[in-house]
Symmetry: C2
Subunit: 484 residues, 2 copies
């Protein structure tokens, strides 16, 4: 990535979302100070505002995990090549994008070590040590870490050579239990994305060609971005016994025989932050869902003369006290910036609510409360403020979801042949519901001709239609889209 | 590290702490399932029980950080060699133990990348982009991550080629402010170690030869382990302008001129888990300070006949309900293990309190409550249980600290020459208070002859004595010890 110019002026000018979505996206990431470019090719720095967002996301997701019995652990970053090579599809899928450690200090290593691109290999190896009998099962571990995948073309949050994520890896006594856990974790992602990030998703299966390397089945939660492209926003993989056989995870079963275990893995990454930006943002910048916003309410104090500042400061203290500690509030007292500048800055940074408080507000014991999503202003008496803010935060959260769902529905089109698909993609973009005969060839033809891929075979039937390539009638309809 | 045998029998037999402290330590780490060896040389796996301990430690420390204005962020794992080389002492100190990435996918890199051994270089580079004027200062960022340092001799938690830690890095407008932040963070570590981990520490400065590579001053919190060896348990570095000049972090100051900033860094790692084990453990295994124990109260249900099990299960439900959600309670219902086995297992795993509950306890509406530290048993009526448990958890926390402080005081000896130092080290081990003339030569001579190093020049004066090597009279007394 290019080195950022030292004199960059944050906070004010961003590209038009309607005219240049990609430039708008980059401006929002940089201008809202979510992240920045680094001198390391393809890697980015997550700045405090972006990281605080990730911490809130982590807390919600980790709580959901633990409620299903997940335990956190930590496995080594560097993985011997021979371990990575144990599962054939897995090594083939990942080796082209591995960063290799070849030297430790001044010593050349006998075997090179992969900087983990994912941890199936090392975790399955350890499970093979720990699992002896059916009593040791299931093992349901997760780790929050960073992974490295050598990417040539990179974009902040969406595709970087290093990213943060969580990866859960489980082993079970039966195939049924492994499948149930895979689906359970997909539903955890769906609930997290919809209820905490206000991002509606289509859940279902991936086609064989889109599966994770080594998986028997990959499940996905697919979201539609504001430019009509899809983003895979959480995946859950059922490995059947592919890895457990490769890593010899067998156990003494209840009947005294030996059986192979069944395994799963599931992950969600900082890529999802890109999803939040692209689903909810507008021409003014970011709009953060209140549940995960680092600053839920920004207070912009307004004063002209020095003698006013003291009055306003005392009043803002009262406003903060009235809001209590359950709401994340910040007052922006920066002296060299005007209130108008701060309004713009915190709209760009996506704080869900803004409070304007000046001498007249202090005199009337009220404030002006502004919603970020609708930019609607309302005067609120100090006495009513806490209840009004709580209600509005919930309202903004719901409203962001509703708006995103309406957008997704308005941008889901039907097509029966490739020409129709191309027309939709050229014009409005979005999900295209079309049939699929089930063949990898027809899937590849659509991709080649339209650059759209099958994003998801939905659990909820989407009706039937002919395959747009081979014209086989009455095939299952799936979601096609161009994707990030 | 060696591959662990698949048939290892956890939970019962451990080496004697009094007879073989090192073997005892390893047995406790493995037997309590805190961590395990991995197939990656020098790297370990932190198992769920050990990681839950780390999570509780993180929560306390992170809360303390944030109360002082620290913000979390994330910086890249891979650092170009040229960046690492910008500060001369720093590169010299770290390059011998760096793991190098030389290939990305199939491509050989033009410049090799260090797997971060510490993040001064990458963070100072970014600060040079972000800091323009005095208004941008201070910057006070921290990251929780893993670092890699290629070590030949490794020990679980204490010295591994990869470990987890936090590293805070700050830049300030003045030298005074940087020094104040360095000392503030040292005090955060002291308070965390003493109040949450119940580990008493001696705080003060390191000698120049023991400073962090590139530091103008390194401050340390040193703890004494149960075998009389010292463990550096948190360090805070004042860099003056060494890094800011190397990385060109200059800014427009209040007077309109340009000044260099001043920087600090400070870190605490999973090594400290080794400290918890070695300070508090006993012949039966681990003893965890209640504030950070993943399981504060373990309930061992006791039943013989099937018909008793139902009664006991209903009663244990009531016991758990009585304890509420503020206490971390687990009931061990494992069927194939006897109550006696479970008593041993949870003593080995260091749960601060144990509750024994059988049919007779159910009948009398009481339980047997057992302290892990003193192993003292007491009957408690169910009606009094919650209050009693809260009080006992606080009592155990305090008692562990008092015991460790008494041990530290009993194992702090005075010496005036090297022969005395050797006699102490051969016999009882511990801290040795002796003078130091301030010369690196005398310091090196003591190290060479006794294997003890100067651990800390204490803030609180420890009196005066002659230098044990050159006999200069009336020098400042410092703490010597053999160390991990």
């Amino acid at each position: 990535m290019a080195k950022q110019e030292k004199t960059r002026d944050y906070g004010q000018k961003i590209a038009s979302r309607a005219e240049d979505f990609a430039a708008w996206y980059n401006d929002v990431v940089l201008g809202a100070q979510l992240a920045d470019y680094s001198p390391v090719r393809g890697a980015m720095v997550i700045r405090p505002y972006g990281f605080a967002l990730w911490e809130h996301m982590q807390r919600f997701l980790d709580t959901r995990f633990k409620a299903t019995g997940v335990e956190n652990a930590y496995f080594p970053l560097l993985i011997p090549e021979s371990l990575l090579a144990k599962e054939a599809d897995h090594v083939e899928g990942f080796v082209p994008e591995v960063a290799w450690v070849t030297h430790g200090g001044t010593e050349k290593l006998e075997e090179r070590l992969a900087v983990r691109p994912t941890s199936e290999a090392i975790m399955m190896h350890m499970y093979s040590q720990w699992v002896q009998s059916w009593r040791d099962l299931p093992m349901v571990l997760n780790q929050w870490n960073s992974v490295v995948r050598w990417e040539l073309r990179t974009r902040l949050f969406l595709r970087t050579s290093e990213f943060l994520w969580q990866e859960g890896h489980t082993v079970h006594a039966t195939a049924e239990e492994a499948t149930a856990r895979t689906l359970q974790m997909l539903d955890v992602y769906r609930a997290f994305l919809e209820e905490e990030l206000a991002i509606p998703v289509i859940v279902g299966r991936k086609t064989p060609s889109e599966r994770f390397p080594g998986a028997a089945e990959t499940y996905t939660a697919e979201a539609l971005m504001g430019d009509g492209r899809a983003l895979q926003s959480g995946t859950s993989h059922d490995f059947s016994d592919h890895f457990t056989k490769a890593f010899e995870i067998d156990f003494l079963d209840r009947d005294g025989g030996r059986s192979y275990a069944y395994s799963t893995s599931w992950g969600l990454s900082t890529r999802t932050i890109g999803g939040i930006i692209m689903v909810h943002g507008d021409e003014k910048g970011l709009i953060l869902p209140p549940k995960v916003a680092p600053v839920q309410v920004i207070i912009v104090p307004i004063w002209r003369k020095d003698e006013e500042q003291e009055t306003v400061r005392a009043y803002v203290d009262r406003v903060q006290a009235a809001l209590g500690s359950n709401v994340r509030v910040r007052a922006d007292w920066t002296e060299e910036k005007s209130p108008g500048w701060k309004f713009n800055e915190w709209e760009l940074r996506g704080a869900p609510l803004r409070i304007e408080a000046g001498p007249r507000d202090a005199a009337s014991e009220s404030v002006v409360l502004v919603r970020r999503d609708t930019r609607e202003k309302q005067p609120v008496a100090l006495a009513d403020l806490s209840g009004r803010v709580d209600a509005l935060l919930a309202e903004v959260q719901q409203s962001l979801y509703d708006r995103a769902l309406a957008y997704q529905r308005e941008h889901t089109f039907e097509a029966t042949d490739i020409e129709q698909m191309l027309a939709i993609l050229d014009d409005r973009r979005g999900f295209i519901l079309a049939g699929w005969c089930g063949s990898a060839e027809c899937e590849a033809t659509v991709k080649e001709r339209t650059r759209a891929t099958i994003r998801v075979i939905p659990f909820d039937s989407a009706g039937r239609a002919p395959c747009p390539v081979c014209d086989t009638p009455d095939t299952e309809r799936v979601y096609y889209a161009r994707a990030y």
